[in-house]
Symmetry: C2
Subunit: 815 residues, 2 copies
Amino acid sequence: SHALVAAMSGIRCILSSSNDDNMVGTMAINGNLWLGTVLNALLLSFAGYGSGSGEVGTSNGHMKLLDLLDEAVPGVGTYEDFNTIDWVREKSKDRDRHREITSKSKLSTWALLQSVSDAFSGWLLMLLVGLSSGALAGLIDITAHWMTDLKEGVCLSGFWFNHEHCCWTSNETTFQERDRCPEWKSWAELMVGTPEGASAYIINYLLYVCWALLFSLLAVFLVRAFAPYACGSGIPEIKTILSGFIIRGYLGKWTLLIKTITLVLAVSSGLSLGKEGPMVHVSCCCANILCHLFTKYRKNEAKRREVLSAAAAVGVSVAFGAPIGGVLFSLEEVSYYFPLKTLWRSFFAALVGAFTLRSINPFGNSRLVLFYVEFHAPWHLLELVPFVMLGIFGGLWGALFIRTNIAWCRRRKTTRLGRFPVVEVLLVTLATAVLAFPNEYTRMSGSELISELFNDCSLLDSSKLCDYAERDPAINGSESGNELPDRPAGSGLYTALWQLVLALIFKVVITIFTFGIKVPSGLFIPSMAVGAIAGRLLGVGMEQLAYYHPEWSMLKGWCTPGADCITPGLYAMVGATACLGGVTRMTVSLVVIMFELTGGLEYIVPLMAATMTSKWVADALGREGIYEAHIRLNGYPFLEAKEEYAHQTLAMDVMRPRRSDPALAVLTQDDMTVGQVEELVAATEYSGYPVVVSHDSLRLVGFVLRRDLLIFIENARKHQEGVVSASLVLFGDHPPPQPANGPPPVKLRSILDLCPFTVTDHTPMEIVVDIFRKMGLRQSLVTHNGRLLGIITKKDILKHMAQMANRDPDSILFN
Amino acid sequence: SHALVAAMSGIRCILSSSNDDNMVGTMAINGNLWLGTVLNALLLSFAGYGSGSGEVGTSNGHMKLLDLLDEAVPGVGTYEDFNTIDWVREKSKDRDRHREITSKSKLSTWALLQSVSDAFSGWLLMLLVGLSSGALAGLIDITAHWMTDLKEGVCLSGFWFNHEHCCWTSNETTFQERDRCPEWKSWAELMVGTPEGASAYIINYLLYVCWALLFSLLAVFLVRAFAPYACGSGIPEIKTILSGFIIRGYLGKWTLLIKTITLVLAVSSGLSLGKEGPMVHVSCCCANILCHLFTKYRKNEAKRREVLSAAAAVGVSVAFGAPIGGVLFSLEEVSYYFPLKTLWRSFFAALVGAFTLRSINPFGNSRLVLFYVEFHAPWHLLELVPFVMLGIFGGLWGALFIRTNIAWCRRRKTTRLGRFPVVEVLLVTLATAVLAFPNEYTRMSGSELISELFNDCSLLDSSKLCDYAERDPAINGSESGNELPDRPAGSGLYTALWQLVLALIFKVVITIFTFGIKVPSGLFIPSMAVGAIAGRLLGVGMEQLAYYHPEWSMLKGWCTPGADCITPGLYAMVGATACLGGVTRMTVSLVVIMFELTGGLEYIVPLMAATMTSKWVADALGREGIYEAHIRLNGYPFLEAKEEYAHQTLAMDVMRPRRSDPALAVLTQDDMTVGQVEELVAATEYSGYPVVVSHDSLRLVGFVLRRDLLIFIENARKHQEGVVSASLVLFGDHPPPQPANGPPPVKLRSILDLCPFTVTDHTPMEIVVDIFRKMGLRQSLVTHNGRLLGIITKKDILKHMAQMANRDPDSILFN
């Protein structure tokens, strides 16, 4: 704090003394008078800036001082809401800060300690993000499980036990029927005393629907009242934020609190939605809030985005229990700038999160993963045919879902429908609950359904899906060994298949209307459920085919009679992968997540075949994944890194001003007055202005941002004596001599970006787009033979791309 | 070919008709005369270029024609050996090609088929790379295994069987002693008839040394005679090549052939080296050769590097049987430009490679992985202390190894030592063989040693490392259940420990001298061996401590007496990870490779703790990993992406010309003659020249490469009538009117890069370095207020960085 006070007083001294124009202020900037140099050196070394006086007076010395000035005028270097950040500037700021700490660390032990703690703060932050996300995920899992069961009944030995937990604590549970115990009472049992009969069924049905409505009403009310940003999946917005967009409050503490509560409510209400996408949002909120503990991350938008990238990995890691898959998800799907350092830290945070969750043990099985599966039978090469068919199904479902969902969401945005979000949520909940209750596969929660479908039948399994008849010794050989061979389907299985077909239709339709309503909603689980049902149906079909027709030449080489040659659970898994891939267009991360669930490299090939087919099919029907489609629907300025820019335009075709427009608004280096500048800024709406040597030569000097310019001039008018509208505005390094009696000039070189990016007018747009993506630019200036010609902003590029794709260019809303 | 002929004749027409300066040539370039437009359109549509005449005549139309011209003059757009490629140009070229195919595909079914096959050629290539690398890896494994055993003896039932295989086919093998069978005869047994006794030992010893010398002599001879690039690990060079450097023949067919053969010889000779690094080189050679099958990859240096990145992943995948780890290795360690598309393809290729290898089954155990390990006991949190100690050991070993190895390699480069590579190899082999034979842990191959050290002792294990004494019931409780509790060490184990200590010292010293000799040599296995020995020693130590002192408070909460609480194999694994991490500075990929070997997420935390500690310790002692150190030693132009540029210089401090230098060599747009240009090119050595409007204004028009300039002028002198030294060289778009009687001018706009990258002189070097890295530049021009000031090349940056780090800037050899 000592150093800070010194620095502040130093700045004040510079600002106040620049009235008479040839004292410390000029010296500090030009650094060519001995007095200035000495004062400068004193100031810098006292404030702890610079490693010694040797550097002061050179361009480095003055740059540091300018940084100091930057900090001094509050607001300079920050961004407005719904604006794009400048990655280059943020990264430069961080490097300056880092250099400063490094050079200070040689001066004292305390500074050295600070430097070490600064270096480790990233790791500490990652640890905290992992711990908090893991803990929150555990809390959400446990509460959602309990509340889901509350819709059906209550535990007498303690209302806070969920169904499974209730029966664990009971002594009368048998191994065969784990979920039956006298302590757990359904609502009908509690009210009319009997679990069977029509009246009991109706009571249970009614209460199920009422609870669902109550939960969803509460959820939508909380979202509307306290945190409108808490609705939806959050991944499209997080992708946009990570690409360098500012949405204030989107990752704030209110959003975190409300999203956590309403996520539990929404999941418990039985709507066709999952908690995986919102978990990514919750993790990112945690990370964003924790960033405030560390100056390094609080003050720098680029550094904070590194942390958010890692947090996205943690979100998936705790949602699925798949840390490596989570990191790859972040790398492949959500992140924009992902240096290797972030890769390593994300991995650490994802592991911490996964282990925190495991130590909470919400699933009660000591497993890290959400769906633990173990298959015993290997797969045959010919089975790739049904797997590819599942891939095609997944691709078709993905494309269909994206189109219909986007059409519905657009209708919601543009018609009267959007004005009644609460009613919409209640209607969707009512429809879901009423239709879901009669069918046991839709009544259970999405993740339970998927678990059941992934499951490989064992001898002791009592579920309907494993209700096979005794084998007919006439058809196949005798029973062999202790493995479970293919058997004919029993009546229970036939019922289950019919129920699954109905569940499939129900899920397909209801999910389209659910994703986008004003409660937290992810679509990993619903998508996977659709695919898992389709896969299981196909798997059982194949199994029966192989049982009844072992003589078919196609099946001959593959299935020996009496062996377990088809695993319907594997088909369900492949189907789930394909459908999720079709919707999100994930590739490697999806396969790796699934690999982590099964733990066997064996099954990677089927998963990969399905994912690849699904992606190709879906891409053929529409290039965008669901998240990109939602980004576009909302008009966010997002420059997709995966899509190649395929058109053949040049920078001059995209830049502003167009031929018919008035000339580019520029500032000149040292012959404009404060009044003229203010007039120009007021007359235009641009977020920045190029500074040129003169209007005739149009030789570029630098670029100044509107916000910085306004803040600085206002500051000068307030704190610098004698600044009037007639004062000159000086951007130059060596300004021409001023008349002695004129008003003091305002020196703005400190806020001038001396190294704006420029491209020539002949640069192909594909290169321009590449530069924007890779460097994270907000704008680039366009020159022709060394003369300034125009400017291209990110918004211009996006508008141009929309135009080339025959879309409405005005759908890009933000800059 | 029809289209090609038409295109060629069109070009010839343009070139020949540009004699009279206002005919088709000008028209084709300016595209503003109707005749030119029509001719142009005809030419383009006939040659299949452009989707229709609508585009012709616009700037797009003429750009396409320029591409056509580019192709026409042979050599334009290619690179010289030991030069850096321009990524931006290569990627533009590929996009043009892609666009052309897409637009053609609408014209005919055949073109559509071509377009589809073009789109899938990448996948096909990946499949081929995976298959060939997997097959080669299997071949290398089998042959190396057989030749390693040949040093000790021969199989009587067939000399082509290795020891293990020989005894499989035997009927007299017992389960206890798998490697003893009458069919396998050691050399002594074959010669003097007895396997025991001093004379037999001496015969075995002598023959062991002789075989080793023979193998290594053969290896070094083959390398020297046929493919000097086949020596070493290859990873430093591949990193450099992937960053955009050209080394002709480094990935050619001779290198592939000789590297495959000599790798087997080198591994079999018993030298302290591994085959994992060279496997990456072999895979890359395969990929590079296979690239020649597809025009898309043959002609484009950037596209080819995408394939090579994937091939590096395949190399690690087949070396360890860890496909995901391989992909992350490529991403983290070797690749430079790694778009998401490449990630997905690498993953596919890595899987194909791994499954090809598994179907060859060289280890004979149907396992995918090189070291299959299964641990049963969980680890305790307090065990992190020894794991971190292993991490520190690994970091120290890494730093020590890099320093000493680089010092030795530098001595080899600079002193007389380097002139006798064959003698050096023979000496190292002699030392290795003589010292290794007496100790059974050094006599066995590196990977066998590691397998043995990783192994968890089971009850039936007969190895010395598992020779534990019976438990003393007085000290601990009674035997409980079927698990194997900690037991006191037996005499065999004590012997083994001593041998391991000696082996550790031997390996540490000999590896330093081995890595860098003129045979193929990887250092994954030797590094891992060092770490595994250290880890196993520590693990056994901890185990004995826990056995004899269960009452120590530190151990109390952790080890219940009579339980199996310490797994020495896990310590070996952690040690191996730490040492490999210290040498290569890999992080995520290393942990993932090890995770794939064990298959349990459980053990990720110990591995991660060790890797992190090891990286921190090693980084504190020297920033570079072994590969970066070797790149620097060889003076390759490699811009490290991981290292932050920490200095505070500006572009003007780095650019050429310096203040004392003569002015920048520039060409003017349209008032230089061919003679003047040739004179300037002859007088300077730059690889490119900026083109300006005039010497006075210094306003930049574009950039032309020396090679292109020379080729084009030579071509014009040969094929264009009337071109003499007095002919004007025209770069401009609208050249001034020429005197009617003068010699015809040479038009060079087609080879002029109209969109060179520029930065201002005030741009901080960190931003310049960032642009170079991310965009893959060769050079950037520097301007001040719109006037051209200088140029920065990649070499300048590297020299500057060397200077700032107090190293010799002349160590950067190539451009």
